[in-house]
Amino acid sequence: MKRFDYFLPQSLEEALELKKKIPNSRFIAGGTDLMVQIRGGELKPSALISLRSIPDLSSIEINGSIRIGAMTTVTDLIYNPDLEHQAKLLVDAARRVGSPQIRNVATVGGNLCNCSPCADLALSLLVLEAKARIQSLSGTQDVPLQKFFESPGKSCLSPDQILTDIFIEPVSSNTKSVFLKKGRVKMDLAVASVALLLEMEGEICRKARVAAGSVAPVPLRLQKVEVLLEGQALSPELADLAQRMASESVAPISDIRGTEEYRRQIVGVYVKRGLAQILGWGLV
């Protein structure tokens, strides 16, 4: 493997200064994807700048809104005693990321910055309408997560920026959610996946948020499906319509894990199944 230098800055400023100083350097979070890409020769950085030693980047704070440091591991999401109640969807998705060994090291920020269309955490965070806090030497800005993903492997971050935190608002008590993922075995990357969140008032859906993974160049909000459901009494007929609309509003590719047609089919079925699970209609 090509040699590279490795730095462990102790502060964000130090990390950003190093990045500016060393041409062709990369930030590394958990490294579970980056290390594979480097070994495979897809990436040839001159140096890695680790974000693991920077204090505060790996903590979760729940104080009205929820702040999740970008270096929080997937396992820490799962075992946080409060997150299960405040953002169940995120914890459900976290449980479906990779293997225990991967979850113990992989981070929230890494999962997002990797910008994979199949990122499990990205889907649930899109549906929870998360904001990403981005820092550079010139200041801080918050970006809605929906604007964070640009194309496969490419986020809106410029080389001199670091994703430091994710912010989400706690969901209201009449909100229910579900995360569904299709893989051949449990630790697989998603062939297709769906995150669904509904805020209900009796039979009427007040708010619907739907996102799908592995079916477009980026993790995708299905806003047409959301509009279809909002303000309506949810019925099996409407769920059939949502299923068709979901299948039609994605743009999957065929690859080693599944065909375009199969992915469309799965996304549609999962939207309908998610609605059925949330509304207690039994198995679809």
């Binding site: 493997m1 090509k2 040699r3 590279f4 230098d5 490795y6 462990l8 590394i28 490294g31 579970t32 290390m35 594979v36 480097i38 070994r39 495979g40 140096a47 890695l48 680790s50 693991r52 396992t75 990779g98 293997s99 225990p100 060994q101 991967i102 113990n104 090291v105 075995v185 449990k186 630790m187």
Partner: protein, 159 residues
């Protein structure tokens, strides 16, 4: 340029000089000649390289060596019981025929060790989940699951 890392390895403080691109598995196998930890895929898929870092199972093939400074690492070599006898967990794998070629075994055992340390009475579902990241091409997993149940039982009897 080589940098020094200091960490606890199987309960003993060690110091190693490593290069930036080296990984934990390189430190174990190349620098310290601890060849119990195996490298399978080198991509975090097979789990043959699993070791425990600060109580959690990780793939040592994906773990940058320089990140290990100040941490506590447990490998298969650190598991043996008194007078070089096998640990309860290792003995259960032997007794249940949970080993054929043996290449996946150190990783399997470390994943199970991490599980049983945090959850001494796992259900079969929890055992299967803890072993999601460990592939075995010989045994078909049935004997491995049996071995974990037996080990959990014996460890509870001993405690």
């Amino acid at each position: 340029m080589k940098k020094e890392i200091l960490f606890s390895l199987n309960g003993i403080e060690v110091s190693v000089f490593v290069l930036g691109h080296e990984r934990l598995i390189d430190v174990l196998r190349k620098h310290l000649s601890l060849t119990g930890t195996k490298e399978g895929c080198g991509q975090g898929e097979c789990g043959a390289c699993t070791v425990i870092v600060d109580g959690r199972a990780v793939n040592s093939c994906l773990y940058p060596a320089l990140e290990i400074s100040g941490k506590s690492v447990l490998t298969i070599e650190g598991l043996q019981g008194p007078e070089h006898r096998l640990s309860v967990l290792q003995q259960a794998f032997v007794d249940c025929g949970a080993i054929q070629c043996g290449y996946c075994t150190p990783g399997m055992i470390l994943s199970v060790k991490a599980l049983l340390d945090s959850n001494p009475k796992p259900t079969e579902e929890e055992i299967r989940e803890a072993l999601q990241g460990n592939l075995c091409r010989c045994t078909g997993y049935v004997q491995i699951i049996t071995a974990v149940k037996q080990a959990a039982r014996h460890l509870l009897e001993l405690s």
